[in-house]
Amino acid sequence: MSLARRPGRSLGRVIGRAIGRVIGPVALVLGVGLATALGLSEPARAQVSPPAPVAAGLVARGEFLYSEECQTCHQADGGGELSMGIPSLHGVGAAAVDFYLSTGRMPEANLTRQAPRKPVSVDPADRAALIAYITTTWPGGPPIPMIDIAGGDLASGGDLFRTNCAACHGAVGAGAALAHGAFAPSLHKANPLQVAEAIRVGPGNMPVFDATTLTDVQVADIVTYVEYLHHPDDRGGAGLGHTGPIAEGLVGLLIGVAGSVGIATWVGHRTEPADLADSEPADLADSEPADLADSEPAELAEPADEELAHD
């Protein structure tokens, strides 16, 4: 970067170039630094949590709650304990925290099984505090999604659901078992925000569908369809749990066939004690072959002749 005057160049231009040569790199460094500070360390996720201006009080409350409810498992540094199946909270994102807390899955003391949905024990205000604390202390991860389900396309959502979701959650969202005790939960209690959060977060064994895999519009469509599945069109009658042919088979056999057999016991004859009385093997020995000679077709014809005579 020689600032030496060259023949044919004005001083002004030289100074200008010098400033440019200094300011450029400095600007670059400042810019990168700022961007880094703002953008912060990102895992390979396409979305960034904007640094929302949170009240300092909220974060402090969140820190307090964290130490009370979460620290025992997730550790003070938020790193968790992977060997015990406790995930790290670094860069999980607001969506994940909101999802787990609003479905009651967290706090969870039982480490031996997949955390099930249960009654919520953290109220919304405390939830907001925890989100604020976690996302400020360990930034990164998907933010709480903004979805517009009023504009969601039911048909498109159904098609997307069947391609991406039905394999685990079932065509009607009733949930299903996965391997080794894991399960894909039923979707019938999930509200729209929770569904959208789960799609973006990929909680537990659920795959991660980020904005380039499923756009916000597609997520809105899926959420609309899941809402519909809470009260699907059961115009055929009792839904039988929407579990399919097994329930239908049991109903068909236990009500249809067994009921028909029951009706048969009414219509038909039932063995009465009188039928069995005196039917010792000796009785059967009395029906000797000679008896057969007595009942030739000619005999049966005789009464018929008499009938005809009467007519």
Partner: protein, 295 residues
């Protein structure tokens, strides 16, 4: 009613189950059936409703059935009556008569052995010839089961035909992809899974198959052909929903539980100059369940 088969000794022909209200019950059955049938007609005219249609139809049919069956059970003679069984085997005389009649007709046929053999040959040839049109039912399988529509350099596209860029899927994400131009192709359906940012080697010899941590496996289960749709991203396993075969993704979808006998074939991937995920070639083995000529 006293003509016909005699009653069993000691039984009377009086319907012993005659109850005072029986006739009324049967009548009620018929009346309910009539009303229900009329209701059915009205319901249909008004637009119909499945549950009511079913109930009214059940009442109609059940009412008629109850009435008729009750009539038979309580009001008609129940005996029991006795009738003889004739022996089912024919008498020797009957058999002899049949044999004589048959032989009378077949004697000529029996003597002409040569003609009979020729007729048999002709009939057999006709039977075989008639089987040939069955061949028109379908094409020769050939080796079509050993290939899919993936070709070297084919871009991976989703079901809408949009190609997959290297940054499109997050780590832990999955998408169903097809070769470009064949979106929706049943045998080419492939699972594209992003297990990490860095290439992953599933088995020796596959070092170059997973650029940027993308792994691609045939979605057609090697057990009975169902789409292997369940991806457990925490345990990095694929579960087939039909018969619960479990595949270990990082070990090349080796089956670890269930009835699937072989690993899901892996599609070798690479990135093209524009950062799209493309196939290096077709699958190196036939996809899906085994068949006779699959060595």
């Amino acid at each position: 009613m006293t003509d016909g088969p005699p009653l069993l000794d000691g039984d009377s022909d009086e319907p012993s189950l005659r109850l005072r209200g029986t006739e009324r019950a049967i009548a009620l059955g018929f009346m309910v059936a009539t009303l229900a049938a009329l209701g059915l007609a009205v319901l249909y005219a008004l637009g119909g409703q499945p549950q009511l249609e079913g109930v009214l139809l059940a009442l109609t049919l059940g009412g008629i059935g109850f009435g008729i069956a009750g009539w038979g059970k309580y009001l008609m003679p129940n005996g029991p009556f006795v009738q003889a069984r004739e022996p089912l085997a024919s008498t020797a005389a009957e058999r002899e008569h049949f044999a004589v009649t048959f032989e009378r007709g077949s004697e000529d046929i029996g003597r002409r052995r040569f003609l009979r053999r020729l007729l048999g040959g002709a009939a057999t040839a006709l039977g075989i010839a008639l089987l040939f049109p069955i061949r028109s039912l379908g094409p020769n399988p050939g080796d079509s089961l050993s290939h899919t529509s993936w070709t070297p350099g084919a871009r991976a596209v989703d079901v809408n035909g949009d190609p997959v860029q290297v940054d499109d899927i997050a780590v832990g994400g999955i998408e169903t992809v097809f070769p470009e131009g064949h979106a929706g192709d049943a045998s080419a359906q492939t699972l594209l899974i992003r297990v990490s940012d860095e290439p992953v080697v599933t088995r020796p010899g596959r070092e170059s198959w997973s650029p940027a941590g993308y792994l691609a496996f045939s979605k057609v289960c090697t057990h009975a052909g169902c789409p292997v749709g369940l991806y457990q991203h925490r345990t990095e396993q694929l579960l087939c929903p039909c018969h619960q075969s479990l595949f270990d993704v990082l070990e090349g979808c080796r089956p670890v539980f269930g009835p699937a006998p072989r690993a899901l074939p892996q599609l070798p991937l690479m990135l093209d100059a524009d950062g799209y995920v493309v196939a290096q070639s077709d699958y190196r083995e036939p996809i899906g369940p085994a068949f006779w000529n699959r060595s």
